[in-house]
């Protein structure tokens, strides 16, 4: 049975697109058929992070409006064949997305894929509410920082009220993905720690992605971090999160990159 997953956050720039790409690639390398849908109409970026920006012909709105068939718009990843992308339109208005159209597209994709992952735009407007509308599972991407936590709380409220499942009296499974986490700074009391965020938002933890230069390096190259450097700390954290999505019970740890003598000496004392 296909699962529809929304990656959302409220606040922009916390790592929704990065996480969509990394988790999608991790699930696909584990043998699942995965499709990523970019809902950020007018500001699409998932194609760029996936390295497929030059292969976009048709987009989500073309499909919604019947100008293109779904298979024509899907872009299959060159590295992982079981991973596909449905890009957003860069030129059209976001009002071109209709609830019925989105329902139709997601319904069709559910027949072909194991995971339908919706990359939500920032904010709480039409694009964001449509991205979460048909979700079974939600990943709330949060940075350990006050404005991100507040916006996540707002999004959790919307997931409990504005989704199809919520309206039908069911619940959307919600998971917290804490990104850009710095264990050393949290240890020093300079950054909210994991327990703080979990206590405030009170949803289960899917994973902790450490702050890492590998993330930017991967997006520079147009490759999800889980494909670009699978042994790096953030990639391992995403692989673990993907395993938890598939039902594996793994203990949540914060992976870290191996440090040199200097880093070890000073990193430990600071923590």
């Amino acid at each position: 049975m296909a699962k529809v997953l929304v990656v959302t956050s409220g606040k922009g720039g916390v790592g929704k697109t990065t996480s969509t790409a990394a988790l999608g690639a991790a699930l696909a390398t584990a043998g699942k058929n995965v499709v990523l849908i970019d809902f950020d109409v007018g500001l699409r970026n998932l194609d760029l992070v996936m390295g497929a920006e030059r292969r976009v012909v048709y987009d989500l709105i073309n499909v919604v409006q019947g100008d293109a068939k779904l298979p024509q718009a899907l872009i299959r990843d060159k590295r992982v064949p079981s991973l596909s992308l449905l890009p957003a339109s860069q030129t059209r208005d976001k009002d071109a997305l209709t609830e019925e159209g989105v329902a139709q597209v997601i319904g069709e994709l559910k027949e072909k894929f194991d995971w339908v992952i919706c990359d939500s735009p920032a904010g709480i407007e039409r694009g964001a509410t449509l991205a979460m509308r048909y979700a079974d599972i939600a990943i709330v991407v949060t940075n350990p920082e006050v404005s991100s936590v507040r916006d996540s709380d707002r999004i959790i409220g919307l997931l409990d009220s504005k989704t199809k499942r919520a309206e039908d009296g069911e619940r959307v499974e919600k998971h917290l993905l804490l990104t850009r986490f710095d264990a050393v700074r949290a240890g020093r009391g300079e950054m909210l720690n994991v327990a703080d965020v979990l206590e405030i938002l009170s949803i289960p933890l899917l994973g902790i992605i450490p702050e890492s230069s590998e993330v930017l390096r991967a997006s520079n190259l147009g490759s999800p971090v889980t494909l670009n450097n699978p042994v790096s700390a953030p990639a391992r954290a995403y692989f673990d999160a993907a395993k938890r999505l598939n039902g594996e019970a793994l203990e949540v740890i914060v992976p870290s990159d191996r440090k040199g003598l200097f880093g070890k000496l000073f990193g430990r004392r600071a923590a």
């Binding site: 920082e145 006050v146 707002r154 409220g157 020093r188 009391g189 300079e190 909210l192 703080d196």
Partner: protein, 134 residues
């Protein structure tokens, strides 16, 4: 230990955590019933209208959220009857309510000539309770 603390900057995360907890407690209470003030206004008006002829525009309800105490301000304008011997002053009556975490005594503010005698004693306290429970 003191030497380490001297070099270390004071931790800010606990402040962030506390600020968030206070803020979100308020925001969660309001979301879902964002028209709480409108509902309050209507219900308060219904109560008062049982006893006085009040104008639709004659009631103002304002809520201010503070860290420890939130105040609910209800301002009711009651038209002065034509009769010149009527004792009611023309000034509006203000009722301020304090959150239950503080002393939940309602206070009467403003309204020279003690209008609270005229509005029977129970009513403002009742209103205050309705407001702060939500």
């Amino acid at each position: 230990m003191k030497l380490i603390n001297f070099f270390r900057r004071p931790s800010t995360a606990p402040v962030a955590r506390e600020r968030l907890q206070i803020l979100l407690a308020h925001e969660r209470a309001v979301s879902g019933k964002s028209d709480l003030i409108a509902i309050l206004r209507e219900e308060i008006m219904a109560v008062i209208a049982k006893h006085f002829p009040v104008d639709q525009e004659g009631i103002k309800v304002k809520m201010e959220r503070g860290e420890v105490v939130s105040t609910l301000e209800v301002e009711v304008e009651i038209p002065t009857p034509m009769c010149p011997s009527f004792p009611l002053p023309a000034k509006p009556v203000k009722v301020a309510a304090v959150s239950p975490d503080e002393t939940s005594q309602a206070k009467e503010l403003g309204g020279a000539g003690d209008p609270s005698e005229f509005i029977y004693d129970e009513a403002p306290t009742e209103m205050a309770k309705t407001g702060t429970e939500a």
